[in-house]
């Protein structure tokens, strides 16, 4: 058997997958650090929140899936409950400038005010660096990081992929569930789920 074609194939496969690398984050591993400015111009890094549980929520104000979870009060309530319990909730927008879903600071603040949503901060990631580091694909897309900086949940907001608010009472909300389990020192029963939503519009 000739070794060379196998080596070439492997080399091709590796280079292809580096371009496929939309996922450096995995449950059980250290969550990637980031440095982003929020909607009020203040800088935030993941590292500064070491010791606290951190929730990351990828957002696009015009996405019908995001609107389902905001207009119903579902995400605003989860943000309020999580921050009241001492967690940090960071809403992140990785939409590239000029692409659908991108917001500036004023737009982000207007969106939050519209729904009376109070995350710890709304972070702007227009060059997509944080989004790509986490493999964020949809809005919403949720991640829960424990106080030690380890990723403990990544995936969808809940268990029913739809744009219908009527599905909310029947769905399992994965973030409050994970936060409660972490607080009780239990393993996270659903550590990953398929995220659903609108695609994140990264720049090229």
């Amino acid at each position: 058997m000739s070794l060379r074609p196998l080596v070439l194939a492997a080399a091709c496969a590796l280079s292809a997958f580096s371009s496929l690398a939309l996922a450096a984050a995995s449950v059980g591993a250290a969550a990637p650090d980031f440095s982003l400015t929020d909607s009020n111009g203040k800088a935030h890094t993941l590292a500064e929140y070491k010791g606290k549980t951190v929730v990351l929520e990828w957002n696009n104000p015009e996405c019908p899936f995001v609107k389902k979870h905001y207009s119903s009060g579902n995400i605003p309530k989860q943000q309020a409950d999580a921050t009241a319990a001492g967690a940090v909730w960071l809403t992140i927008n990785s939409g590239a400038d000029g692409k659908q879903g991108h917001v500036d600071g004023a737009g982000a603040n207007a969106f939050l005010a519209q729904y009376n949503a109070k995350p710890t901060a709304y972070l702007l990631d227009p060059d997509g660096k944080a989004g790509r580091a986490y493999g964020a694909k949809t809005t919403p897309h949720l991640y829960v990081i424990d106080g030690g900086g380890v990723l403990r949940y990544m995936g969808g907001i809940d268990s029913i992929a739809s744009t219908d608010k009527d599905d909310l009472p029947k769905a399992t909300q994965y973030v409050p569930q994970a936060l409660a389990e972490l607080k009780a020192g239990k393993p996270v029963s659903v550590a990953t789920s398929q995220p659903y939503g609108c695609g994140v519009k990264y720049g090229s």
Binding site: M1, A9, C12, P64, K99, G135, C198, V200, Y202
Partner: protein, 267 residues
């Protein structure tokens, strides 16, 4: 009032088309169509949801890919009637930057089999609740209720829309006689195909019906020991090894093939 007007305008002069009044949604028009102009007792008839997308807008396949939502159907049928699952035509891949989705644009028909009971008589009033997500850069969810009344007859005549059903059948993935095996190699999944004429691999593409095994990006093609090998990245949401992986393999100029690759227990 609007739908009544539409159905009057669209009825062809020669015969009443067996189609519901079209629903004009945002960027996509939908109608419930029938292959035949009558339903025959004891037989399986074919109905379909026709979607006419505005240019550059698309709806999604059963596995929508990295984002999106598949079109969902809920039927309200007379006693004894039952509708099966959508016979999804081969979708196309949409490349949205670093994300990949699967679905349909243009004018497409999603066929559904309808079992007609042996005791059926008179006419059948068929109601379909359809939900979809249509996207270009932005996404717009939609829903509609479409109704169709069809006579029950001893023999069915092919309807004006019959050609669309023939096209939808031709667009189905075919079941291949290829021998396919899958195995996990680190963070990749390799599927080897024997008996497949995929040539040099130029233009070959493949994607899975289940979103939680392989990632949605196109696989790399290689040859090894006389077999074609498709190497995929693992899905970020891979939890456990399934018994088998259902793939659709596309080669330019050939029919799309449905392949079932059993996972290899041996390393």
């Amino acid at each position: 009032m609007r739908t009544l007007l539409a159905s009057v305008l669209l009825a062809p002069a020669s015969a009443l088309a067996a189609a519901s009044a079209p629903f004009a949604g945002d960027h996509v028009a939908l109608s419930l169509v029938s292959e035949n102009s009558a339903l025959v007792p004891g037989q399986t008839a074919w109905l379909g949801l026709r979607l006419q997308h505005d240019p550059h807008w698309h709806t999604y396949w059963i596995n929508p890919g990295d984002s999106g939502l598949p079109t969902k159907l809920a039927w309200h049928l007379p006693d004894g009637f039952s509708a099966g699952e959508i016979a999804w035509p081969t979708p196309r891949r949409f490349d949205v930057g670093e994300l990949y989705t699967f679905g349909y644009d243009g004018d497409v028909l999603l066929p559904v089999p309808l079992a007609v009971p042996a005791a059926a008589s008179g006419a059948a009033h068929l109601v379909l609740d359809a939900k979809w997500l249509v996207c270009q850069e932005e996404c717009i969810p939609g829903k509609a209720t479409l109704t169709l009344e069809l006579p029950i007859a001893a023999a069915a005549k092919r309807d004006a829309d019959a050609a669309r059903f023939a096209q939808a059948r031709a667009a189905q993935p075919q079941t291949g006689k290829w021998k396919a095996a899958a195995r996990i190699v680190g963070d990749r999944i390799e599927v080897s195909l024997r008996g497949a004429d995929l040539g040099s691999g130029a233009g070959v593409d493949a994607f899975a019906q289940d979103g939680k095994v392989v990632a949605n990006a196109p696989p790399r093609f290689s040859r090894r020991d006389g077999a074609a090998v498709l190497t995929f990245a693992k899905s970020d949401y891979f939890t456990s090894i399934p018994r088998a992986l259902e793939l659709i393999v596309l080669k330019p100029g050939a029919a799309a093939m449905r392949v079932r690759a059993l996972f290899d227990a041996t390393p």
